[in-house]
């Protein structure tokens, strides 16, 4: 098999004196859907944010498609890595369509009409074909998060990162966002998700990565992890959920 699409190699990350990622090794293959779980403060989100260099690592390396992200222009890396946030962060001064088509226009120089057509397709794909002209303020949390997913997809990323994207949603709105993510998984998008939704993790994830205290303590096939975790930490974590 070729190089993994995303590869963590001995990654060390500190916030000041706090050691938040400890010797992290992880390989994510193309079309892989990896779900990162673990108690809060275990470094899950930080792990994600190191991929597109929203956080800088102190030691080790992260490679995207065989190239070190540390040695590549940061904006170039980010154009290949889509990210969706817990708090949506839609641009309030742009319509749904404007949110999705802004980056391709400004960064890639794609003509407005072309970018808008593509944005319409993407909004259609996340089930918001009828809301293209709505401003974020007029959309529900679930709709806003789906626009955010479409916005990230508009740059044609090689991998999508989801940072607790359902945590800020009302429970009845979680489903519509998870449906979109499942749909992406079915289409073969490579994805790394940090989530607290265990049911969803089990449904969509190919592999589960369990983190604790800044370390990866277990990487298992999804079914295997939920049926019979290999590690004591895994068993503890699951037992606390039940």
């Amino acid at each position: 098999m070729a190089d993994p699409l995303v590869e963590f190699d001995g990654v060390e990350k500190y916030f000041g004196d706090v050691h938040v990622l400890k010797d992290v090794d992880l390989a994510i293959e193309e079309r892989d859907v990896v779900v990162v779980i673990g108690p809060s403060g275990s470094g899950k989100s930080t792990l994600l944010r190191c991929v597109n260099r929203l956080e800088e690592i102190r030691d080790g390396d992260i490679r995207l498609d065989g190239r070190s992200v540390l040695e590549t222009d940061v904006n170039e890396i980010r154009q290949q890595v889509g990210m969706v946030f817990q708090s949506f962060n839609l641009f309030p001064h742009k319509s749904a369509l404007g949110n999705v088509s802004l980056a391709p226009q400004k960064i890639r120089g794609i003509p407005e009409a072309v970018a808008d057509d593509r944005a319409r397709e993407l909004l259609e794909r996340v089930g918001l074909g009828d809301q293209t002209d709505s401003y974020p303020d007029a959309l529900s949390g679930g709709q806003q998060q789906r626009v955010a997913i479409a916005r990230a997809l508009a740059m044609d990323p090689k991998v999508m990162l989801f940072d607790e994207v359902t945590s800020a949603l009302d429970p009845e709105l979680v489903g519509e966002v998870l449906d979109v993510i499942e749909d992406l998984a079915a289409d073969g998008m490579t994805m790394v998700l940090v989530t607290h939704e265990m049911g969803f993790a089990r449904e969509v994830g190919d592999r589960i990565v369990l983190m604790a205290d800044g370390r990866i303590v277990e990487v298992s096939e999804t079914e295997a992890f939920f049926e019979r975790p290999e590690t004591e930490r895994g068993r503890q974590f699951l037992s606390r959920l039940l």
């Binding site: 929203l54 980010r78 946030f85 002209d133 709505s134 401003y135 959309l139 955010a148």
Partner: protein, 293 residues
């Protein structure tokens, strides 16, 4: 009254007090209006010389001063807002040097009187040409524009900086994570929102700029207050020209407020649920529809 009194929270008593406060306010405001209005009517009927007020002599002189002030205001306004945006950007620059220079600029121009700054520019600068002749003959108006611009750019800069810091960090992060450079993210995402946040404060400052033109009388700009002083000393009649002065300033400042209101409405994309935002949209409650534009 018994039905209104809730024994647990004492609502009845609170309501009584609220109504009492409201009534006291109405009486105070009404009394104030009566006193000022009465004084005004008395002044207008006994002190103002209407023949002089409507004479072409005084009208022409005020009109000339008004047009000059208008020109100075338009130019200084455009320049101070443009330059102020740069000052605001300098304040948030990641470069320590730029940030400190911008901070020093703001401290100086906000921390010294405009009159002092006008004196420095009008009297001080020409003296730097010790040997030769200062090349600009009519220095008063250019000096005025420079002074007003430099002074108000400091205030606009602070308004912009405040507007930028009120934009949530997640906006910059979302833009950067799409692959935008910092400059592009500022231009496309942060500044449009900062501009909206800062508009009220900038408008406020620009109205002060209009009134600050009255200081230009001391550097020999033939503006509105100069005309007043001239007429008052010739005719020994302050009230007649004061009516002109009042109406002319109000004409500029009120158009300025209209302009700012218009700009605020134009940059309203519906997410502003602050009291101010709702007032400026003319809606009262949570029934705003941001999406139907």
């Amino acid at each position: 009254m018994a039905t209104q009194t809730d024994p647990e929270s004492g609502t009845g008593g609170v309501m009584m007090r609220d109504r009492l406060v409201k009534r006291i306010g109405e009486i105070a405001a009404g009394g104030f209006l009566l006193a000022i209005g009465g004084l005004l009517v008395w002044i207008l009927s006994t002190q103002v010389n209407y023949t002089l007020l409507t004479s072409t002599l005084i009208a022409r002189r005020f009109a000339e001063a008004f047009l000059l002030v208008l020109r100075i205001v338009v130019i200084s306004s455009l320049l101070s807002v443009s330059f102020g945006v740069l000052v605001g950007l300098g304040r948030i620059s990641t470069s320590n040097v730029t940030g400190r220079i911008a901070k020093g600029y703001v401290e100086f121009f906000r921390g010294t009187p405009l009159l002092f700054q006008l004196f420095v520019i009008y009297f001080g600068i020409p003296r730097l040409w010790a040997t030769g002749q200062f090349p600009i003959q009519d220095w008063a108006v250019p000096a005025a524009v420079i002074g007003l611009t430099l002074n108000h750019a400091a205030y606009v800069g602070e308004a912009i900086r405040g507007g930028i810091s009120a934009v949530p960090d997640g906006q910059m992060e979302a833009a950067r994570s799409l692959g935008m450079s910092r400059v592009m993210a500022l231009r496309e995402v942060v500044l449009p929102q900062a501009w909206r946040n800062a508009l009220a404060a900038i408008g406020n400052d620009q109205i002060i700029l209009v009134k600050d033109t009255s200081l230009l009388t001391v550097i020999a700009v033939p503006e509105i207050m100069s005309v007043f002083r001239n007429i008052n000393s010739n005719q020994l009649d302050p009230w007649t020209p004061l009516v002109w002065v009042c109406l002319l300033y109000l004409a500029i400042t009120m158009s300025m407020s209209q302009l700012v209101n218009g700009l605020e409405r134009r940059s309203d994309w519906g997410s502003d649920n602050s009291m101010l935002g709702r007032l400026s949209r003319g809606t009262s409650g949570g029934d705003t529809e941001g999406g139907d534009r």
